[in-house]
């Protein structure tokens, strides 16, 4: 049996898994970015906030995903098989990854540009939204791409605790000693990761027209 015949036989299941995998990886990315932006901003604005925040983020990232999936229901009061646990765990990883990226991206804004903004009469908030965040987009997008790919693959680990998504193809292949579902799972995970990567890349290009012009020169 090859992956395609397997796909034809289990089309509904596989498509459902693909969709679950997509939102379980994608939603944490959006929520994680929303949480990481203010924390990263604080870490870039106050020098003393940066070391503890970055250290904490690093530690969070080292927690094994399986452990987090199992511990979270106790902390959140959710059921052990609830997909929410996976989404929350991946949000934690996304935040852990992006906090440092956001802080470093804001710190890397050319001081000439932010000084000029101050001297022109920008308030701190206007400067952040009008100058610093737009200039931080390329670096944040690069971090987001790493987080997206890592999320897509981390989701599959959740099949071990019984949350059905593309990872279920691996467990099934393992149980039935068949390579077809495993191969199909691999292909779909890679394709999903590439789609996420492409969407972020495209969004970043839309947000940074000035970089395209300069490259084209």
């Amino acid at each position: 049996m090859n992956p395609w015949t397997y796909l034809r036989g289990h089309q509904d299941d596989v498509l459902h898994w693909l969709w679950t995998n997509a939102w379980m990886a994608g939603l944490p990315l959006l929520v994680g970015l929303t949480i990481a932006l203010p924390i990263g901003y604080l870490a870039s604005r106050y020098k003393w906030v940066y070391p503890p925040v970055v250290t904490l983020a690093g530690l969070l990232y080292t927690i094994p995903s399986l452990a987090l999936f199992i511990v979270l229901p106790g902390l959140l009061g959710t059921k052990i098989l609830d997909a929410i646990n996976v989404a929350v765990a991946l949000t934690v990883y996304t935040v852990a990854l992006l906090v440092r990226v956001v802080a470093d991206a804001l710190n890397a804004v050319p001081p000439d540009a932010s000084n000029a903004a101050t001297a022109m009469g920008y308030t701190r908030r206007q400067r952040l939204f009008g100058v610093e965040l737009p200039l931080a987009v390329p670096v944040v997008a690069a971090g987001l791409r790493v987080a997206a790919v890592s999320n897509v693959s981390l989701v599959s680990v959740a099949s071990v605790i019984g949350v059905p998504q593309l990872g279920s193809l691996f467990t099934e292949g393992f149980q039935s000693s068949s390579y077809a579902p495993i191969l199909l799972g691999l292909i779909l995970v890679v394709v999903l990761a590439l789609v996420f990567d492409g969407v972020i890349l495209f969004g970043a290009r839309l947000l940074t027209p000035w970089l395209r012009v300069v490259r084209a020169r």
Partner: protein
């Protein structure tokens, strides 16, 4: 008018950047703050728009104490130009220029129209409007920086070493255009530089600061060159002071002599009859000097054909009638014939002058200055 009243900036670690500085930058004039690094010139500039707050003293903008004005509001009324322009890399040239009007919530279309006008005013073509800063050269970026500072038509302009990141040729060009612009706009400008030559070229008034943030001398450029307040200023102002000071004295009453000339393209054989001391001045069709033709030791047989540009000696500089003594002396000293060429405002030949005549004029001028009231230094 901007007035510093015993302004001090002391940092928590005890370093004093500016120490009891009192000075006045008059309205509609360029006041240059100049000094070695560590003299507090940039700190002083940044205290004017409250990028840095002083720890002592007051700064007045006309009759307002600037510490009573909210910083963002104060800054929107002051143009600011920094070294390397500091343009926003993510905005087009026209959006960069329109920054402050848009901050002030001016109509977008009007702000852009004004930005286009300023683009032209600083000497950039209109099609640059949609470019991004990285597509511009350093000098072009600096012009955009100046346009951006002018966009909201501020009374005050603060300029922090605006021309020091470009090469000397572009710098001289930017300086000349800056002076031309200021002649039209008459802003109150405070200009920071470490380059004394730039200070002397641009300043109506020059404040020389010394390390530690104290004022060594505040004077006009001519006074700074002719009467440095102390050995620090004298040393900082540098060599050739006497010669450079001549650049501030108008060479009026110079005796200008008639001179026989030949036209470019005329018969070479006619030249010897018009030469004096073996040299004859060659003019073009509009009577503009082209160069000197040497005739000493040239056999008559070689004098065939026309007076061509490649035969001319171009060593001499030209001085304008009503120009400075420095120009006149330079023209006289550099001329291969020993006779300095004077031209009128249109660049047409007006006559010649000898070095000794210029020197006589310099001596007469020095005589007048010596009899001017002097400030006696008490040591």
């Amino acid at each position: 008018m901007i007035r510093f009243e015993s302004v001090t900036k002391r940092y928590p670690d005890g370093t004093v950047a500016v120490d009891e500085l009192s000075l006045e930058a008059p309205s509609h004039e360029i006041t240059v703050l100049v000094g070695p690094s560590g003299c507090g010139k940039t700190t002083s500039l940044r205290m004017i728009n409250r990028m840095i707050d002083p720890t002592g003293g007051r700064i007045w903008l006309d009759d307002r104490d600037i510490s009573t004005v909210p910083p963002a509001q104060l800054r929107r009324g002051m143009g600011y130009v920094i070294q390397a322009a500091g343009l926003f890399p993510h905005r087009t040239v026209v959006d960069n220029i329109a920054t402050v009007p848009l901050l002030l919530k001016h109509d977008r279309r009007q702000a852009h129209a004004k930005a286009m006008e300023l683009l032209e005013r600083v000497g950039l073509p209109a099609h640059f409007a949609k470019r991004y800063p990285a597509q511009l050269s350093g000098g072009q970026q600096q012009r955009v920086g100046v346009a951006r500072a002018l966009a909201a038509d501020p009374m005050v302009m603060l300029m922090d070493e605006p021309f020091s990141a470009v090469d000397p040729v572009v710098r001289a060009q930017l300086q000349d255009e800056f002076l031309r612009l200021q002649a039209e706009l008459a802003k109150t400008i405070v200009f920071v530089t470490h380059d004394i030559d730039e200070a002397i070229k641009l300043g109506d008034n020059v404040a020389v600061l010394r390390v530690g943030g104290t004022l060594a001398q505040l004077a006009t450029p001519a006074e700074l060159l002719s009467r440095p307040a102390d050995s620090f200023v004298a040393g900082f102002v540098g060599r050739d002071r006497g010669y450079r000071a001549l650049g501030f004295t108008v060479a009026d009453a110079l005796p200008v002599h008639e001179e026989a000339t030949v036209a470019l393209g005329s018969e070479l054989a006619d030249a010897p009859g018009r030469a004096r001391d073996g040299w004859v001045l060659v003019l073009d069709a509009d009577r503009r000097p082209e160069g000197w033709l040497a005739l000493t030791g040239v056999p008559a047989s070689a004098l065939a054909g026309e007076v061509r540009p490649d035969l001319l000696n171009l060593g001499g500089t030209l001085a304008t009638q009503g120009g400075t003594l420095r120009e006149a002396l330079d023209a006289a000293l550099s001329s291969p014939s020993g006779r300095g060429v004077i031209v009128d405002d249109e660049g047409r030949f007006a006559g010649t002058v000898s070095p000794s005549e210029v020197l006589a004029r310099i001596e007469a001028h020095a005589e007048e200055t010596r009899h001017a009231p002097a400030e006696i230094a008490v040591i």
